[in-house]
Amino acid sequence: MNRILNSRTLKTTAIAAAVIGVVGVAQARDQIRIVGSSTVYPFASYVTEEFGAVTEYPTPVIESTGSGGGIRLFCNGVGEGTPDITNASRRIKVSELERCEENGVNDVTEVKIGSDGIVFAQSSTNEAMDLTLEKLFLAVAAQVPVDGELVDNPYANWSDIDSALPDREISIYGPPSTSGTRDAFEELAMEVPSEEMEAYGGEGYTDIRSDGVYIDAGENDNLIVQRLSEDTDAFGIFGYSFLVENPNTLIASSIEGIEPEAEAISAGDYPIARSLWFYVKNQHVDEVPPLYDYVDMFLSETMVGEGGYLMDLGLIPLPEAEREATRNKVQERTSLQLSDLQ
């Protein structure tokens, strides 16, 4: 009896020790923590993978929380459980920076990494179709002005919008309302042209039609591209990167006479493009040693430069002088001031 009991006690002891051992092993590593825009996510995750592979540090953790959500988390404070970097597909707003400073996050370096263009493309079996922002807007908006009054979008064929356009059914695969690309499209391709149309009273209009012409294609952009090669009448709205990845199957429309090409986007000529940023919390530099190693790797010529790896993924590089200026800013850990934003 005693021996049995002892072996049982031993077993219990072993199990308890094992549990405690496991708990003891599960401790944090010095990992950079990144949040923010889903538009920047593919670029950032490429750099983090590289960072994890070629340095002795673990791969940083990235969460895609959206630009607004990312900045909110970032500005929650300094230290414990707050992210070190937030990615953004727009510049931080004055109100957001004020909130940051209220919470003690008062030493932030702003880094501009390049631009991102949104293309409007179709299967390359078709002729290219040249559009203007206004024509594109008329094809996707829920309500459009007809004879000065707003009515439900009546256009079924491209030729209804402009008789110069082909007599083809309008059919557009685009990102869902939860995606960053959709956000950018609404901002750049809908708000901008609608603000200049009298019928909207000078206000931006961003409602996309929901009568089946605009098809919410889900987050799976792979399927959008595949679909475009099957459904040759349809257009797709997606990030410039997908155009780069599928040069043989897709053909993009020029907007306002400007083709979506790297130079035009980088120079700001192509209208549906925006700059991408990330923000670094300098107050974490001492606690997170690899922080600026990561930033330096991100800004290296092999990543964001001409012909860099991020360009293959669709990032459009900044002009060389601006890249150099950004690097200098990072070198000096220049703190972003409210006056910079105004």
Binding site: R29, Q31, T48, E49, V61, D221
Partner: protein, 388 residues
């Protein structure tokens, strides 16, 4: 009268024909279901088997001065655009760690870019004509070929299809399942013991029973909402961690284990209990020393099946954030991780077409594990099943 006999027998023949028809139709349905299964596996195999092979290129690595900064400088210009970036970027690292390499030349097989891989497999690819010619020439010289893809089993996720592997996800699955098992197995067995051996037949017991049946039928995604709202937002369990994933799945697996354990306990004949009570055992002693050991094979079988079910589950894990990008091979309960089915889901959404076969390859591995688990459950049952 014979006339009417003919009528009847004709009628009878018709009725029997109808009966036979039902037999053939119902047999056809079963056959159809079997056919679906065959088609499904054939489709997955044809899509997934190529993932176990990967193009490799034999290159000459010249560890020169320039290569310390740019890995590409170490490769011959002809092949440098065909070699995977995941290899190239490690050249400077390797030279830093082994300074004696400087000035030496090494000849070895390395991973090729996924476009080369897709080209060699005859899939859709984006290689330019001139690069295609280069690859053809390399194949001719025996310097490029498809080899068994060990990377797939030794790497974590990657943005580059050729280097993407399932090891990180597999380890994540192991950690998550450990948490699930450690929570669900004891609680499930104890619940079943209570209901079968201890509980009085009152309202509370009935409520628990009905409740367990309901839990078994609640859509899995709602368990994800529970995990998000209670485990993550309320208790502050780290998001995306095997801990939160395992806890969520444990609650989902609980009913399966409870129901299996109850069946196993019920199949232990009462005579065993009577005999044990007869020699003065207390209720707990009867259960611990006699009923539970006899029911164990059944309990184990049920638990393995429950675990296999949890292992294939994705929806609740998406909600608790276990679809993270995990390139590192690491073992931890609290760091961000992913699991096999979630990895399959993320790969299915990758824009690079080379990921389609990775997805199917991941599926094959997942299916192999599940079939192994279920088969071992069946064998366990066969081996230890006792008819009383």
């Amino acid at each position: 009268m014979s006339h009417s006999f003919d009528d009847i027998s004709a009628q009878l023949k018709g009725r029997h024909r109808k009966s036979a028809r039902l037999k053939w139709i119902s047999m056809g349905s079963l056959g159809l279901a079997g056919l679906f299964l065959v088609l499904f596996f054939a489709d997955m195999l044809s899509k997934g088997l190529p993932a176990f092979q990967q193009a490799q290129i034999q290159v000459e690595i010249d560890y020169n001065e320039d290569a310390q900064r740019m890995g590409r400088a170490a490769l011959e210009p002809v092949v440098s655009r065909l070699v995977s970036r995941t290899f190239e970027r490690l050249i400077p690292v390797r030279m830093r760690d082994n300074p004696e390499l400087l000035g030496t030349i090494e000849n070895r097989w390395v991973l090729a870019d996924s476009e080369v891989d897709q080209y060699l497999k005859g899939h859709r690819h984006d290689l330019s004509e001139s690069l295609q010619a280069t690859v053809d020439a390399l194949v001719e010289q025996g310097r490029a070929e498809l080899k068994f893809n060990t990377t797939f089993f030794t790497n974590g996720d990657s943005k580059m299809a050729e280097a993407a592997g399932i090891l990180a996800a597999a380890l994540g699955t192991v950690m998550t399942m450990l948490v699930t098992l450690v929570i669900a197995f004891p609680i499930g067995v104890m619940t079943a013991l209570y209901l079968e051996e201890f509980a009085p037949d009152n309202r509370l017991t009935q409520l628990i029973e009905i409740n367990i049946n309901n839990l078994a039928a609640i859509p899995s995604i709602l368990f994800g909402l529970l995990g998000l709202a209670i485990f993550i937002n309320f208790f502050g369990v780290p998001r995306s961690s095997p801990l939160v994933g395992g806890m969520t799945l444990a609650l989902m697996t609980l009913p399966v284990i409870i129901i299996a354990t109850r069946t196993a306990l019920r199949s232990v004949p009462d005579s065993i209990r009577h005999a044990a009570f007869g020699v003065g055992c207390s209720r707990w002693q009867v259960v611990r020393d006699h009923v539970l050991p006899l029911a164990m094979p059944g309990i184990m079988t049920g638990s393995i099946i429950g675990l296999a079910q949890a292992m294939g589950e994705t929806a609740p894990l998406i909600i608790v954030g276990m679809v993270a990008f995990i390139p590192d091979i690491g073992v931890s309960f609290t760091n961000a991780a992913t699991v096999l089915p979630a990895q399959v889901f993320t790969w299915a959404g990758e824009p690079d077409r080379a990921f389609v076969e990775k997805t199917a390859g991941g599926i094959l591995v997942l299916l192999a594990i599940l079939i192994f688990l279920n088969a071992s459950a069946v064998i366990l049952r066969k081996k230890f099943e006792r008819r009383w």
